[in-house]
Symmetry: D2
Subunit: 267 residues, 4 copies
């Protein structure tokens, strides 16, 4: 494993006023136990952990909560999962701020219960409102390059297109859309949903994501801790794969062993 310790660390990514050295963001839903979750979060090396605000017991500070299982040093990213309108999402953001969790928020305004597909109208509206109120808004969105540009103009701190439906494990269905969004926005791009395996995470990074957010693929893997470590390395590999400048895709073969000018040792 020593040879993994080479000089090429990841440069940090900046979202709002915060800086993260890990580019793997992790969710907290669906783990079997809080203990497994804690180990997986540690193995992932993450510094940003998202929590559905509805799962946090805001009323009784003495009761142990999901927050207690999040490793020291991680930033908590409250999300508005389960909100179906701008109003509802804004209200949840207010509660997060009131509870002292801070003003970094992951905005989800869902428009379809089966697909958990974001509502472009409510999402844009809530982004504008929350930005005006001083929140740093990380926005879950469809992988739509024009909508992504609208969200950036509305002041989003990060644009978070889905790769495929939440929890579906289908990966990034249309890599080109991630590349197109990348070419059209300046704020960080985080692929937010659909990652099912390490290769999906690497592919998202190769396409230009600054980070990926993974939840189900880790939480519901047979071995969440091993999967968390695999995702961590895949994000690293995808980042450097992009930086290293990949070869072009071509239709036909390109010999890797040039034989021109070589002595024919064969027949």
């Amino acid at each position: 494993m020593d040879n993994r310790n080479h000089a090429k660390d990841l440069p940090p990514v900046r979202i709002g006023s915060r800086t993260f050295h890990s580019r793997l963001f992790v969710g907290t839903g669906k783990y079997e136990t809080l203990d497994v979750m804690k180990q997986a979060l540690e193995a992932s090396g993450t510094e940003l952990v998202t929590v559905a605000l509805r799962r946090v017991n805001l009323n009784n500070p003495n009761e142990p909560t999901i927050l207690d299982a999040i490793p020291q040093g991680c930033t908590i990213l409250p999300n508005t999962a389960g909100c179906y309108s701008a109003e509802e999402a804004i209200q949840v953001a207010h509660l997060a701020r009131a509870a002292g969790i801070g003003d970094l928020i992951k905005l989800e305004v869902i428009g379809d219960q089966n697909l958990l597909w974001p509502d472009p109208v409510g999402t844009l509206e809530a982004t504008r409102q929350l930005v005006e109120e001083g929140f740093a808004v990380m926005v879950y969105t469809a992988p739509d390059p024009v909508l992504a540009a609208h969200l950036e103009r509305a002041g989003a701190a990060a644009v978070m297109p889905l790769g495929s439906p939440i929890g579906s494990g289908q990966g990034v269905l249309d890599v080109r859309q991630i590349q197109r969004i990348r070419a059209r926005i300046s704020v960080p791009l985080v692929v937010d949903a659909g990652i099912g395996s390490p290769s999906d995470a690497a592919l998202a990074m190769e396409a230009g994501a600054d980070a990926v957010l993974v939840n189900t693929a880790i939480a519901r893997a047979q071995d969440p801790v091993a999967m968390a470590a695999a995702m961590r390395e895949a994000v690293w590999a995808g980042y450097w794969g992009r930086m290293a400048g990949r070869i072009p895709r071509v239709e036909d073969a390109q010999p890797s062993s040039p034989v021109e000018g070589m002595p024919r040792v064969g027949a």
Copy 2:
């Protein structure tokens, strides 16, 4: 980077009588300079390096050759690249043995010059012959599950299906074929051609490859050394991604933040 140093190293893979701790095999064609190649091979962590025998100057032992740029401790895997018949490939294998490179050989019998597609007939024939002569034969083949089983029965030490045409950078075009071959053979499966990026390497490992062989994607990357490191981690990530037991792919969304039984803090 310290957190990359966790306990889950890769178990070694055994091919013929040899054991390899790295599951990234690397080719030596197409590098700009031997120095870049040497650095890339080192960054890759590889222990098995393939060389087109035609590129080795077997006649003048005093002249520096490609072999001098291969890191200490790597096994040399001579290949029969550029051979278009069983006879020709067998002859090249004999030369390798005569030159003292050993009896591990990567067999390529090409059937089409533009696609560098393997010839199933000549490949099977040469495999039988070389196995009989005591070679440990790692066989480049089309991703055909029935042909793979024939090759194993013929005594191949490893079956090496292409993911897509050599040097095309298209990755693994049909993951199911790799999975099907995996389910039908017992000897190591090495995805041998088409890898273009770290996500491709991870995907090959997730599909069941025991190792991947990469040449053009490293040699022709803008930064071959960084790409070699990225490939190394991607192979690691893909291996553990497979071992960790990925979630199933489903069509529609699966909420990662369960809201049942949660207090409705929103509207």
Copy 3:
């Protein structure tokens, strides 16, 4: 050819107050000559032909225009191609109505010049306004199921998701999105962009489109008249393919020649 004359004609599709017996809508851009265009439109069997209003000379009624090359009996569908805001598109619609072309309009509000990707915000706004003014609005949109439902609620007469970027010939990149939109709206669904070949058109229909709109794939084919006829049949085949209830996709093989209980004539 007689056997093509069987009883299964297509049921008509109703958009706004109009009824169309052909489910192939055709555009008028990019033809080499107006004569080729006329022949292609005739071969296509189309009854709805879209025209960029900017190409129509509205000022000089004596000058021959593109409209003269459109077969008798076809409905003209003016479109707002080239409009980058709701205001601009609405203004073009007003001109179409003033010119007596009618109140059926194809609305395009573009948000990105290179992708010709629709702007969800401007598109929804213009739809609302034009519906209020009594237009029957056929709306070009991204293949977003939530946005499609918004457009229907806004009163769209037809929702027209792109299959892939305009003129790209990539077909329907994500068939599931077409199926999802189909499941969420009641007005006609027309796949509007990206069709490159007859199989693309058939696939769109199989996925649930009520019609397809084709322009570049016919106009820029080497033989536009033959391609128009091929598209016509493909739409027919795709419609009946959907109605006939296709077999499910499965991973492995299903023997088509059952051999159980059959006398073994072989060895």
Copy 4:
């Protein structure tokens, strides 16, 4: 429907000494009833119908058989479905000839029971043998361009690559392989397995198939007769789509409504 009656009929395809005006070949397995099969075969317009020889009662000529439900004028193509070796397949071919069905044979030598994947070794061996004995051999094969060339050299009357596993309804998984085979052989190319819908059939023809063979997709459709008609038109559409010269696929959009030099009627 009259407009379907235009001048562009399909040119006939010649296989061995026979000529077929329809390019849709149909199988006879899996129909609910012989009556439904008969209607579907008629609706398909086929002139070549394949029958698993094992399903034909060769012993009792008075008993009604599947052959009685095949429309007049169709050529019977006995196949060797269910054979797992060259010997077995050759024996079945001999029985077909002895029964007077003729010397046109569809050769299947299966190498894997779950995938019904062809065995390249047994297939090539049986092809050579049967060609020597005077059979016109239509060969089911993996979509391997080098193997296809071997089969042609062995004397195959038609090469029949699978698009995806038999009965899987996955269509043509790698269109490029069909195109590559097309570029490498001169005898007719028939896509033989995996067709699930009319768009799949059209795509196979567009890729260069001279004909397609469909069984499960028709026999197991909810309405086999309607599906047979849809497949017939799809084959026609795919053929002419290829002949008409499709537009290239490009990544980004190409405006279909050129606006250069047009009067700006908008803002």
